[in-house]
Symmetry: C2
Subunit: 885 residues, 2 copies
């Protein structure tokens, strides 16, 4: 029979899958000799069983009974004993940490008799009844689903009657009265007395924890963090230690380093005379951890020692929960601390410098999402200069966000569907708000500290958050935010700076952040390990500069048409498009030739010999034409043709399905002079830069190729132009001609095309559109429904669809290499920035991926990570092989 | 060294590839002992050599010299001899007959000396000089490219001066004068005397024939008939026989059966005192062949015998050219006669009945194009009742055509580009008109007979033609057609009935022809041999009836949306589309349910248990909505909503790329009640028909599937509805659910989809659109250019693109069968009617193809042909194997 319950001394930190994160770490700390309250863990296996059978098995009940008896022996107390009762905490502990998502019950074992025993044994009746009312409240909420506010109302009414400010003002009599009221509420709600038998309490509590695995907020959290729904949770049962026995007790949470900035110094909070949930829930605002040094210097010293020991032992920043009971320190939990992207970066790199971990490990520890967050925008300087600061709260999670304020998660969801940018504004957040947090740009609370629910969850999401901004009064009911005499209502604009805690009135424009030396160091390390090169999609000087700052290997996609939209140029472009024949087209083409040359000269000068892939004109011509009557009139005047004539020509260019229309190489075939002009511009500027003594490596990419015949038609023409110019100038410049693979047919006939092409660049955006039959402009009509109905898991424009689109890329790579082993294969498109997709491209052995400049860092990191993964796997396989042979 | 020249007794009819069709048949007839003028053939190998080297090789010249000497011996004449000169004809003869496309020179060997010898030896100076002037004229035209009209002008001027009507009125003196004039023209044009040396004449003539292989009209002809450009032509050199020696001579062409109707009786024409080109060119209108019986009964008797012998020998209707020289019959050529579709059908079937050929051979002999032609439309009865008949000509090629008249091929081309239907109207056509004939709907000439250029070529193309309509005066120069006192000009409408020779004023509406017993017999034979079944795409009762008349195996595609467009229904459809929620949608859905049930009941009743594949709603909803302001207003009133509101809803449904938008199963997922209604309608009507004692076999097809998840979502819902209804009625009806494979991703992930689907029906139209990235609605912008620039050979919507789209179909078939060996695979789309595509589907082992009803016969024939082909190949392979083992 499989063992279902483990004493702490039976486990290690490696047994997370069985014991949950919390249980494994409690076991680990026990064996390190740290002051952990005694207890045991019910395994995730038992939870999985419960998910199926909806009851605890006989075996499980027996094992719990046995372990409970051991606990009684060790503690010298007995469960339900009327003189020296054992009280326990019952805590969930999943494999992956899901803070606040599941249930905890403290002080279990109390009833009308044991409370008296506790009161006598501690000589502290106030503490005993405070614990009892907490227990009833938690049990009723967590196990029995009685609305929490019913209990809180009793508490608040009593405090108001007596003129109290804090819970700690309540006297023993108050608490006894409250306990009676609580039991009355329980009976009214449930029709039976509050369960007095501790065994019953325990079984019900364990079942409640198991059930909480499947509560809606836990499911949403798992979906958000890609955690499997089948893992289940463990349950930890521990002897209670009390932070609420008076002012020699307390409870706290601390990080071994600053989880917001990464700064290497203890960071945390502490609340005197309180139990754990008071800190986490953010109801009372706690004091910083270093206050402990003043109040309890010895406890503080011991804690610092333990914190250092744990960080070194786990090799990572720890998030530690502790309780002080009458001057004695207990460690309740340790885990790798959640952190902001900035902290993740600094901690990982500092740990390498401190020789705690290796570079490879540091690279693995930082996620690509975090890298993206590091590049989160901040407010523009100009915007900030004019901004009106209305309050400052705690800088709980960095980043900047502007949006309309909403006071309820449901309102945020609705506003988001309307396409608004929203901020979730609440007095405090609770796990029910999780969806509202996901869909808002930022979160603002008036209560709670740096480790409050809002702060922890927002940091995990990399979302801007300001917590405990107490100068604001937030009325969730009326949907109002009041500061001074001003009232803001739902839909008004605010701006939040999560790095400073500043709250500004109205909207402020954003700009990209700059990155520091830690960032650069990480990028350099990534280059050391990655195989797949990363290029950028860049059309403008500023894009190219950004890309170069991130250390790109080249430009993978320069969309020449983007150069056409500038106001000074669009007129020549339109003239070209609306010409009635080749002769008329010659003049605007000559104008554009000179303009394009300027662009390319700049590009080549900046790139200094790194490859630059330039795509010839791609979009359908009508995209360049004016849509408004007034503009059309203006254009007619410019071109000296009648309004009727110009409308005629414009309407001739209209298309039913422009995505599949007259674009890409199809333009190059019907109007060869356009591509000829572009080729001339590329070659002449390459020659000119080369003559300045700067290396150049142009790669000309023909878009929207569907057949070898199309490709050959164009390739022959442009090769001739290039070679003529090179011969004329009597120089030799390396260049390549290749194609964008973005039409399914091109992939299917890649063996034919590869006979002529020197490179393939997979354009995943268009390829996905055609492979799926999705028009990106139209999917909004059904994609929301598709996700809601589980018909589609990922947006295929974000994450490569490996079984469909990926299959085409595989086919094309295979067929292409078969006839042309030297062919260079790359990717450009949104999927180029997605880690799963990067793994796929790496495994296919492509040369490079190209993505927008700000996605380059994440792509480089992902490329390094997949290379390291592969190394590790092949190392393991080698080891295996060594064993075999 | 390879032999390049063959005497007739060295060849057989099987040596077409080497000797050309004409050469091989001359050799064959020689060995049959028929009266063929002596001669020899220069092989196609020599022509291929000439294409490369642009000169005749030494070997060839030597071989020609030798064969010429043999000919001199046999004939007792000598080339260039001043007393008894040998004269020869030099004729092209390609592997596949290309009538009128290449060059011929007669009477070669004449010069100022030999003409006198001929005059003396025949005692017929008029004949000698007539031959001489013909020779100079042909040689100058064919070999030297001197404009033909320069010679014709001389001839016409002389006739006018002398008041002659016919060429035969010219006297010896006239002809001598004309010869002098011709030589003068030659010298003026070429700067040198007309070549007097017969050896020189011969070499130049052979070179000219070889060169004519690559003249533009020959190339166009080969493109049209899919003849390879590399085959080359042979050259036949034969001793001249003369049809122009006087009234005991003549020349003619005859078919062993009627090439227009297939009727089994000799059919042809004869011209007294003429040479061959006079008949073929249609300059003089000849007399029917049976007139020969009166004029020369013995010759006629001999000719009938030979004709029968040749038809039996070749096993097919023959097209025979002959000349009578002073009462002696010579056969100049025999070949399988070109014929109309109707004739092809009747001849093939009659030959089976006459036991000349087998059924299999008959099936192979009829092309799918001919089958299509048999179904060519005729004028509607109603149209004919009101039509004004203005003339009747020869019914040269059947079919009916209406269009604007044009007098020059170039004008037809231009009009065609403007999208007009054209008729080519000329006094007579010549090979230069070939493109004009291709692009016109029909051809009308005022001169020439049933074997004139226009008639022969039109029949080959299956194009309607009326020839020799002499009551019309056609002025090509002025671009006018005159009948009586009325003048028609370019662009006026006419209608031609090629089966009766009737010419009508204006446009007449067309209707489909009915087919006779020959047709039915062929269709039955096709069913005997074919493996691939043929189904029809049919949505209406009349479509289904047509399909059943052609003997379809089932309905492969019933597009339910076509049932929605009827005026009485569209209103309910629009109401359904514009409903704001499911509840509002219920009422119109209930209305549509009843309507659809009526449709399906009719369908199942007609199909009597044959499979009926019904596709659920496919097109984007906006296709059903009104576009015009007025209609929109009306709809708003009907639906009791404001104009603003309705415009709002309509504009919400608009899409950028509707082809890739919210359609097919995407509608079924976002609005499940629509597909549920359709499924209910299908099932309830199937039950109702089944209860009438009629078998039913519904196959429900889900359109536009891209992933297994989509398919499963819908399949689960509709299966439940079907099963509920069947259980409710306590009956069991066989049914299938499957999917339309028309999205590339579906093909790539066919293994996943096949786990759930019972059949795949490849929708080649949409699959081609997405695989190519072609929007059918927009390809007109570049497809013309693509073909002109040789970037695209076939329209992929007509002929399956085997390397791209076909590859996807292969992948899907392979993957689908791998996981589900019972899966049924079929095709529907335009490509279902194309023979090459059918071969591809047959080889892939698909179960059926489905096409529009009128393409069913061609598809059935093609299916039988590919099955027979395969049988033959495997038979050959078996024979080979027998040899090997």
């Amino acid at each position: 029979m499989e063992k279902l319950v483990y004493a702490f001394n039976e486990g290690t930190k490696e047994m997370k899958e069985l014991l949950g994160g919390k249980g494994a770490n409690l076991a680990e700390m026990s064996s390190l000799g740290l002051p952990v309250p005694n207890g045991f863990t019910i395994s995730t296996t038992a939870c999985k069983h419960y998910q199926v059978h909806k009851e605890l098995s006989e075996n499980l009940l027996l094992e719990i009974k046995n372990k409970l008896e051991e606990l009684e022996k060790v503690s010298g107390k007995r469960f339900g004993d009327e003189y020296n009762p054992l009280l326990v905490s019952v805590r969930s502990g999943a494999v992956f940490s899901m803070p606040g998502m599941m249930d905890t019950i403290l002080n279990l074992g109390l009833n009308d008799f044991t409370v008296k025993a506790l009161s006598q044994s501690t000589n502290n009746p106030r503490f005993a009844y405070d614990s009892y009312r907490r227990f009833i409240q938690m049990f009723a909420d967590v196990v029995m689903n009685i609305p929490r506010h019913k209990f809180e109302d009793v508490l608040e009414t009593r405090k108001k009657q007596k003129g109290y400010t804090f819970d700690t003002d309540l006297t023993t009599e108050d608490l006894q009265y409250i306990v009676d009221q609580f039991k009355y509420i329980y009976k009214t709600e449930k029709g039976s007395d509050f369960p007095a038998n501790p065994q019953d309490q325990l079984i019900m509590a364990v079942e409640a924890v198991f059930s909480s695995w499947d509560n809606p907020r836990a499911k949403i959290y798992r979906d958000l963090h890609n955690i499997s729904h089948t893992l289940g949770t463990a349950v930890n049962i521990q002897e209670m230690v009390f932070g609420n026995t008076g002012n020699t007790s307390g409870t706290g949470v601390a990080f071994t380093r600053n989880p917001s900035t990464g700064e290497p110094a203890l960071f945390g909070e502490f609340l005197l005379n309180a139990q754990g949930e008071d800190v986490v829930a953010g109801i009372r605002t706690p004091e910083p951890i270093n206050r402990l040094q003043e109040i309890m210097p010895l406890v503080y010293e011991e804690f610092v020692k333990i914190a250092n020991l744990l960080e070194n032992h786990y090799g990572d920043m720890q998030d530690i929960e502790f309780t002080v009971e009458n001057g004695q320190l207990f460690i309740l939990q340790t885990r790798n601390g959640k952190r902001t992207a900035q902290a993740a970066l600094q901690v990982a790199i500092d740990l390498v410098h401190e020789k705690v971990i290796a570079k490879e490990e540091a690279i693995k520890r930082i996620s690509t999402q975090q890298i993206d967050q590091l590049l989160h925008p901040t407010f523009s300087k100009k915007g900030l200069e004019q901004a009106i600061l209305i309050a400052t709260g705690l800088p709980a999670s960095p980043g900047a966000a502007s949006g309309k304020i909403y006071f309820h998660a449901a309102d945020v969801l609705q506003a988001k569907e309307r396409g608004e940018n929203c901020l979730l504004v609440r007095a405090e957040t609770s796990p029910e708000d999780i969806e509202g947090m996901i869909f808002s740009e930022g979160i603002l609370t008036s209560r709670g500290g740096m480790t409050s629910h809002a702060a922890v969850v927002a940091r995990g999401m990399g979302k801007c958050c300001i917590a405990g901004c107490s100068s604001l009064y937030i009325d969730e009911e009326k949907r109002e935010l009041i500061y001074g005499k001003t009232v803001l209502r739902e839909g008004d604009f605010l701006s939040l700076d999560g790095s400073t805690g500043n709250v500004f009135l109205g909207e402020i424009s954003l700009e990209q952040t700059t990155t520091g030396s830690y960032f650069t160091e990480l990028m350099n390390w990534a280059d050391e390990f990655s195989v797949l090169q990363v290029r950028a999609n860049a059309d403008t000087k500023s894009d190219v500069q950004t890309a170069l700052n991130f250390g790109v290997a080249g430009i993978g996609l320069c969309r020449t048409e983007h150069m056409f939209f500038e106001e000074t140029r669009i007129s020549a472009v339109r003239q070209m498009i609306l010409s009635s024949d080749e002769q008329e087209r010659q003049e605007p083409l000559n104008t554009l030739l000179e303009m394009q040359k300027e662009d390319f000269i700049q590009l080549f000068q900046l790139m200094k010999g790194k490859p630059v892939t330039i795509r010839l004109l791609d979009p359908p011509l009508h995209e360049f034409l004016p849509k408004k009557e007034e503009e059309i009139k203006k254009l007619a005047q410019e071109l000296h043709i009648s309004l009727a004539e110009i409308k005629n020509r414009i309407s001739y260019l209209e298309e039913v399905n422009p995505m599949l229309g007259h674009r890409g190489c199809r333009l190059g075939i019907t109007f060869p002079d356009i591509y000829e002009m572009q080729t001339r511009a590329i070659t002449e500027s390459a020659v000119s830069v080369y003559q300045q003594g700067i290396a150049v490596m142009p790669e000309i990419m023909v878009p929207f190729i569907g057949s070898k015949e199309e490709y050959t038609f164009i390739k022959e023409r442009i090769t001739k132009i290039i070679d003529d110019i090179l011969i004329e100038n009597n120089i030799s410049i390396p260049y390549k001609i290749g194609t964008m693979m973005e039409i399914p047919r091109a992939c299917l006939t890649a063996d034919e095309i590869a006979e002529e092409a020197e490179f393939f660049s997979f354009g995943t955006n268009d390829l996905t559109q055609m492979t799926y039959g999705f028009s990106r402009d139209d999917t909004d009509k059904f994609l929301f429904d598709y996700k809601a109905k589980n018909v589609l898991k990922n947006d295929p424009f974000q994450t490569l669809d490996q079984s469909g689109v990926g299959e085409l890329i595989k086919i094309a790579s295979y067929k292409g290499r078969k006839v042309n082993s030297a062919i260079k294969l790359g990717v450009c498109g949104e999927a180029g920035g997605d880690p799963d997709s990067i793994r796929f491209f790496h495994e296919l052995g492509l040369s490079y991926i190209s993505c927008s400049p700000f996605r380059v860092p994440a792509a480089k990191l992902a490329a390094a990570q997949v290379a390291l993964e592969e190394k590790q796997i092949s190392k393991k396989q080698k080891q295996k092989q060594t064993v075999i042979f």
